[in-house]
């Protein structure tokens, strides 16, 4: 039962991450390769707040989301200035730079040793959540809120308006300022919620090191998104996250040696991506065509 709850918690974390990615890829049509960087920034900043201050969860969460959101300005500025491959390359660069800093700035991040003994979150500053059952219920509630939030954002008239003006059929001068505003707000939300996922992860596992926030992790999140489908609704990303997380767990029971299983799983993901791009580029449940 505890094992199922562990899977549930990890699933919730990935749902938040994939939803965040879907926002920029699906709504703004900007493919990024740096989601794991925001995830990592959130995890490390969250760890700092958890270890230094005895604050209620909601305060820490808002602080983490604010700071992580601010770091997304680098990417939104890049998205305004750079087009196509150059933008994707810049996001890859951001991912690499963040990882290198997490890995090398030993005095702050602990380098490759990571940071052990992260305290669990406290709901109102007093009641700590210790048992896995309580944690599961708590994370589930947070994730449901996040899902509702994203479905609101993606359906709101504001973002439909922004999406409409982002189309090619309107004069670029007229839409430029709004487009910039849209990119900044979408990247901010996307990064902030990835940061929240990082905070949840750090306090749940109670140990973080840089290897959880690599380029490969970014690619993994993108894989989950494209399997589920880039979508204006929230179901695509949720199904995508569920498929990769549950598939990962099922694979443990097949009986391959552990090291082999991880790689074989990746091979399958890779092949699935290729086939999807050939047959159904918008993913299983996707409706937004990627330009």
């Amino acid at each position: 039962m505890d094992y199922l709850m562990h899977i549930g918690i990890m699933l919730c974390i990935y749902i938040i991450l994939v939803l965040s990615t879907n926002l920029t890829v699906g709504m703004a049509n900007l493919l990024t390769l740096c989601q794991a960087a925001f995830y990592g920034i959130g995890a490390y900043i969250g760890t700092y707040f958890l270890m230094q201050f005895n604050l209620p969860f909601i305060v820490i969460a808002l602080l983490v989301m604010l700071v992580t959101g601010l770091t997304s300005l680098v990417i939104s500025i890049a998205s305004v200035k750079l087009k196509g491959d150059h933008f994707i390359l810049a996001t890859l660069g951001f991912q690499m730079i963040v990882y290198t800093i997490l890995y090398n700035w030993v005095s702050v991040t602990g380098g490759s040793y990571g940071i052990p003994g992260i305290p669990s979150i406290k709901l109102m500053g007093i009641w700590g959540i210790h048992s896995i059952q309580a944690y599961f219920v708590f994370v589930l509630a947070v994730t449901l809120l996040v899902i509702v939030f994203f479905s609101r954002v993606q359906r709101s008239s504001y973002s439909r308006f922004l999406k409409a003006i982002c189309g090619d059929d309107i004069s670029p001068q007229a839409s430029e300022r709004n487009e910039t505003r849209m990119k900044i707000s979408f990247f901010f939300i996307s990064a902030a919620f990835s940061g929240l996922a990082g905070l949840i992860y750090a306090s749940y596992i109670s140990y973080i090191d840089p290897t959880g926030f690599t380029f490969a992790e970014s690619v993994f999140i993108i894989t989950a998104l494209f399997i589920g489908g880039v979508s204006k609704r929230v179901w695509g990303p949720i199904v995508g996250a569920a498929v990769v997380v549950i598939f990962t767990e099922l694979f443990r029971f097949v009986g391959f040696p552990d090291a082999m299983a991880a790689n074989l799983r990746q091979v399958i993901y890779g092949l699935v991506l290729i086939v999807l791009m050939l047959v159904r580029p918008q993913g299983l449940l996707g409706d937004a065509k990627l330009k």
């Binding site: 750079l82 390359l89 660069g93 290198t100 091979v267 993901y269 890779g270 991506l273 050939l278 580029p281």
Partner: protein
């Protein structure tokens, strides 16, 4: 001591240049962000290891077979995935995701067979010679000589031969498309074969000197992609410029800080270049139609 680092940096830069040309050949002509080439590079290194160490073939034979196989794999990625995607009029992003998919599949398949451990073909302590206080090992000398030779021959060929000039014009202009003539498919095939050859040569040369692990391989290749963008898009000499700049920059970083900061420095330089001069130091300004 710094001089030693600079020499090493230039030699590493030559290896980056070879990879950058391998990437640029595909990127400039077909506009594909051919990131699966990183996996092709890993494949190439493992094949060289397989033939030279596991099967014990002579180095030159092993290198030759490796180059052929790598060219084959490079062409296979085009025929099996890129061309069908092109037929379906897939967008750049969709093609890139497919390319990432191929990269994940190939690298992990290789890791399943070869493991993640570091591979090295060095059988004995290599002799080296010194000029003043500078030390150059024999494998490094080979890297320098073969690398420079291949690059010079390539740059000459694309300036003299008909095919080369055609390639250059394609690269500087809009790339390969339906308008570029009847033998488009042949040119495309040649480009992918040649790209594979460059990747394989770099893989063999680098494995000849240092040990190799798959994840390191991907990082090295991504650095080479950065080298191409820094040097300039649309040309080939620029790959060498970018490669050597990065090689030396990384050597200097290793000297003053530590080699683990290399990636950060590389990508900060990339971001600076992308913002200030998107076409690269000596690239052609992109024409948008």
């Amino acid at each position: 001591m710094l001089g030693q680092f600079l020499i090493n940096g230039i030699i590493t830069g030559i290896l980056y240049s070879l990879l950058a040309i391998g990437f640029a050949l595909v990127y400039n002509t077909t506009k594909l962000f051919h990131i699966v080439a990183a996996a092709i590079y890993v494949f190439s290194a493992f094949m060289f290891y397989l033939f030279a160490v596991t099967l014990g073939l002579p180095i030159l034979v092993a290198a030759f077979v490796t180059i052929l196989l790598t060219m084959g794999l490079s062409l296979l990625t085009d025929v099996s995935v890129y061309r069908p995607l092109k037929k379906r009029k897939a967008s750049g992003n969709v093609t890139m995701i497919a390319s990432i998919g191929m990269m994940i599949a190939i690298v992990n398949l290789l890791v399943m067979f070869f493991g993640t451990g570091e591979k090295s073909i060095k059988t004995a302590v290599c002799s080296s010679f010194s000029i003043g206080s500078l030390n150059v090992s024999i494998p490094q000398l080979w890297q320098l000589v073969v690398g420079v030779f291949v690059i010079v021959v390539f740059l000459l060929l694309i300036n003299i031969t008909n095919w080369g000039i055609r390639l250059r014009v394609l690269s500087e202009g809009g790339g390969l498309n339906e308008n570029s003539g009847d033998n488009m498919s042949n040119t495309r095939t040649m480009v992918f074969l040649l790209s594979g050859a460059f990747i394989a040569i770099s893989a063999c040369l680098s494995l000849y000197d240092i040990s190799f692990s798959p994840y390191m391989g991907i990082e090295v290749f991504i650095t080479a992609i950065v080298a191409m963008f820094i040097g300039g898009v649309g040309r080939y000499g620029t790959c060498v410029l970018g490669g050597i700049i990065l090689g030396v920059l990384q050597a200097v970083t290793s000297y003053y800080l530590s080699s683990s900061w290399n990636n950060a420095v590389t990508f900060i330089l990339l971001l600076i270049i992308l913002f200030l001069r998107p076409q690269g130091i000596a690239g052609y300004k992109k024409q948008t139609v």
